[in-house]
């Protein structure tokens, strides 16, 4: 996984807008573009749209790098949000939902889907806190009710809106919104219980 420390260094170098800024930005692109393209592809479902998202997102990253807060500790998450939001917008404007059937949706084998889609291992740069947080999150996701977990994973991984979820799952909008809301609240309660348990 991308190293926040390295990514931050490159972002700040790119933001300096002097000699060497282009090299830093290129290195940032080489390091992160494959993952970002993968994330975009999961959401928009079509390769040419995903490449468009990648282009637009990196244009925004270059332009907004100057506004990036040097004190922020999560530059990878900052970049990921830019990519995801662009992908969500493109998905909405191209009506991707009607042609996509989500063959690999986590409807069956929910535990397998969690391990296929996400990386729970810890990198060498992760501390004990990160390792524990990842374990708690995975355990708590696995413990959610199946419908809640499914709604959360489809929304996050495939970029489904409430309306898309209702259509895909064949349930009323209100029901689906409640699953998302409850899923989130239950996930949070579970994770915070784990956190509380370590404080004593």
């Amino acid at each position: 996984m991308l190293d926040d420390h390295e990514v931050k260094k490159l972002l700040l170098r790119a933001a300096a807008r002097d000699e060497g800024s282009a090299e830093a930005f290129e290195r940032l692109y080489r390091l992160s573009a494959p993952l970002m393209l993968g994330v975009a592809q999961r959401i928009v479902g079509r390769r040419e749209l995903a490449e468009e998202v990648l282009h637009d997102a990196f244009t925004a990253i270059w332009r907004r790098a100057e506004a990036f807060d040097p004190l922020a500790t999560q530059p990878v998450a900052w970049m990921m949000t830019i990519v995801r939001n662009r992908a969500l917008d493109v998905r909405a404007s191209h009506d991707v939902s009607r042609v996509d059937s989500y063959h690999d949706a986590p409807d069956e084998d929910p535990e397998g889907a969690l391990d296929r889609l996400f990386d729970w291992s810890s990198g060498p740069e992760d501390g004990e806190d990160e390792r524990r947080a990842a374990r708690w999150l995975r355990d708590c996701l696995a413990r959610l009710q199946a419908v809640e977990r499914q709604a959360l994973v489809l929304a996050y991984d495939r970029g489904l809106s409430h309306g898309d979820l209702a259509a895909h799952l064949g349930k009323p909008l209100g029901t689906v919104k409640a699953w998302v809301r409850r899923g989130m609240a239950n996930l949070r309660a579970c994770v915070e219980t784990c956190m509380g348990g370590t404080r004593q």
């Binding site: 393209l37 592809q41 282009h55």
Partner: protein, 228 residues
């Protein structure tokens, strides 16, 4: 926007990261994120504890055209370490002198040149995705020929420019502006004797018609040492 009590803020952070906060609601949240530090702080907490890392299995290799387009549109060449400094060859650039030498060579490329046996004087190499190019000089030192391992043609708004980095130092000297890396052209007579061991040949990508400044402005894609 003022976001009310913490429960509402948490719900918004969660749905923002999940991606179900859309349209105007998302833009309002993003404005609050910029204007209200506590929103940013809370989102950072959510980010750390509730967002799983994506698996490497979903990664896809982007085609090179995506980066090429970014490089062009964002005009990244302006923010690159000038290549002659990066290679460590030149201390100072006498731009004016170079411009004077470079003037008027562009059109000579089109003039037909008679064939004559030639000797290889350099092998130009660059990054892996650029074909290697052999440079040959005619025995009378008046004609230079480039032969690319595979066809490389400049884009619509680009030209290649061949530079001599003289053995005795000094700024790079333009030898030719080219549309393709398979080319044959006369050597500017003032440069014929400077093509010798210790010098280098380099190819940069320039706007159509060649460097506007008389010194290389675009990325250098090929470099090779001259051996005669």
């Amino acid at each position: 926007m003022r976001i009310g009590e913490n429960a509402a803020l948490d719900a918004l952070c969660g749905e923002y990261l999940l991606g179900t906060l859309r349209g105007r609601a998302r833009r309002r949240f993003e404005r609050a994120l910029r204007e209200e530090p506590r929103v940013a702080t809370r989102l950072a907490y959510w980010q750390r504890a509730y967002v799983p890392k994506p698996s490497k299995m979903i990664e896809l290799e982007p085609p090179s055209r995506v980066w090429a387009r970014l490089e062009r549109e964002l005009q990244l060449a302006r923010y690159r370490t000038p290549w002659h400094r990066r290679l460590g060859f030149w201390r100072a650039l006498a731009v004016a002198a170079t411009a004077a030498l470079a003037l008027g060579i562009g059109l000579e490329v089109l003039r037909p040149v008679q064939t004559e046996p030639a000797v290889q004087i350099a092998e130009l190499e660059g990054k892996a995705d650029v074909a290697r190019v052999i440079a040959r000089l005619s025995r009378d030192r008046r004609t230079l020929e480039l032969k690319s391992a595979r066809a490389v043609v400049a884009g619509q708004n680009q030209s290649y420019e061949l530079w001599l980095l003289p053995a005795e130092g000094g700024p790079p000297v333009s030898l030719a502006v080219l549309g393709s890396l398979d080319a044959r052209f006369p050597v500017p007579s003032a440069q014929a004797d400077r093509l010798r061991t210790g010098g280098k040949l380099a190819v940069s990508v320039e706007p159509a018609g060649g460097s506007p400044t008389g010194a290389p402005t675009g990325p250098v894609i090929l470099v090779g040492a001259i051996t005669i």
